[in-house]
Amino acid sequence: MRRYLPFIIVVVVALLAIGGGAFLYRAKRSANPTPKISKTEAERPGETIHVLGPADAAVTLEEFGDFQCPPCGMLSEPINRLQKQYNLRVIYREFPLAIHAHAKEAACAAEAAARQGRFWQMHDLLYREQAVWSKSTDARALFSAYAGMLQLDLGRFKKDMDSNEVQQQVELDRLRGAGIGVKTTPTIFINNEAVPGPKSNPDDVAALVEAAVKKGKPSS
């Protein structure tokens, strides 16, 4: 028996490591169902929009956001929850404010991630880590690290961040917002109706979405 004991120990440890790893992987995977129903649609020539949810959803929520703005950060998770709960169509547009030092870079990072099909993952990560990179003196290094964590092609990500196309995309979103009167962030539109600034908080947005969903439902 003693002769076989080391073999038994090693096999048991190998099975435990593989089993434990697989269990952890599955647990983490189900806690972060990352591949969202996301797509990047072409709207006008040269312009792309970031959309979550079905095209024929009863309610469309459009947000003009700035990744460095704390109220936008506070809205990010509640909007994700609302999207899942009511199967909303959520559109995100860049509106980096000049008062935020790293906002434009963050917007470019999200757009660069979008070019590798990971806009929403980067969007969530930037909002979740907002407190960290906002205070950083080298936010760009952190954005690259986030890209690494999302398993993006880092060389391409860095190149895209500096590309004219990405800068132009951010500028197009900003101009579009400015054109329809967006001045601050977050500015939310629910079925094309602007949510008044003071109501752009998680509770009021949830109530407005709920009301819009009820309105959109055929009465029985």
Partner: protein
Amino acid sequence: MKSRKDQSARSTMNRSRAQTIFYTAAALISLLGLAEATYLTAVYLSGETAVCGGSPDCFQVLGSSYAKIGPVPVSGLGALAYFGAFTFATFAGFGYARARQFFAWTVIAMFCMTLWLLFVQAFRLHAFCRYCLFSAALVFLLTGLVVARPVAETQEN
């Protein structure tokens, strides 16, 4: 004549006990490293990003290009190395002479890799990840054991 035989038998027993304790300690340390490396590999493969409680330094290290070799995460290689060290330490503890050599070479390879990773963190990324530091501490402990081993064996002799 008999007492010399007794002495030799006692010395062999002592040596064998010391070796068992030594390699059990090495196996336990390797097991700790294996658990940590397996955790990091699972986290990496699942795409989880909230590691290190949002520490920017940790992000910088684990998200850097140094954290993987091709498509393989360094933590995965670490898990394999720790498993190798554990296996050899276990066999060595049970008296397999060749396993001692394999154990020593595995730990030396891990030590060299750890030095490289510490260099990268200190001078290239200018950031340290607490998981990597914990793993480095474990490898240093294993290296210490490997270095101390001949001394212990000589003393026993």
